[in-house]
Symmetry: C2
Subunit: 126 residues, 2 copies
């Protein structure tokens, strides 16, 4: 059983964390069975944190966990903090495959997404 | 003349700011003439800041500036800080159209991009 964990930074603003939770749900629907579940997790400031997220994946029956950093740049969080959390999780669950994918900003399709955004008026300030 | 300003948060880590600068260049190339230029700007911690970025757009000859927030969630920066900076810029350049587009995380294509990321191994930690 394959589960994606979408790891966001986490915010003091609950509506921002809820955006991530809704997005994980949308990814699961769009994936159409590629992932048996897509769970959100947060590096800090919100729950579940990464260790709690991993535990939830395993409670669901995951044998393979793909952790996707929902981050734009390869800063300390992407280069050190998330890999460190995942290494810790691997030590606790040696029979489970736990891999980190590309972080969001690394994807080649990002430039195209920015062009799409530019053509659409913003909702955030209305 | 239409110019896009790609507004990132800005980081203490220069390599992260350089990622944004390279991305702006890539967006310009991909846009194929939709925008006469695509300039990066930073809300904080890096330069050019938003006012400097607007001034650069106008020096280039921009009559229309589309500001794209390179942000994942509608937090304070997207809802208050960037609109505030743009309002300030409009007051200084009343003849120029300065509009804010969707922020990145608002785009409907985001879920698909996450699925793409999940299928690709990360480079950041290698």
């Amino acid at each position: 059983m394959k589960v994606m964990m979408l790891i966001a930074h986490g915010s003091r603003k609950q509506s921002a964390n809820d955006e991530v939770r809704r997005l994980a749900q949308k990814v699961q629907e769009l994936g159409g069975g590629d992932y048996d579940a897509v769970l959100p997790a947060f590096l800090e400031l919100a729950e579940p944190d990464i260790q709690q997220g991993i535990a939830s994946c395993i409670e669901l029956g995951a044998s393979e966990i793909v952790a996707v950093p929902y981050f734009l740049a390869a800063g300390r969080h992407v280069v050190q903090d998330i890999p460190g959390e995942l290494a810790c999780a691997r030590a606790g669950y040696p029979g489970i495959s736990i891999e980190m994918s590309q972080y969001l900003g690394e994807n080649d399709a990002m430039a195209g997404l920015i062009l799409q955004c530019a053509q659409q008026g913003g909702q955030a300030t209305r």
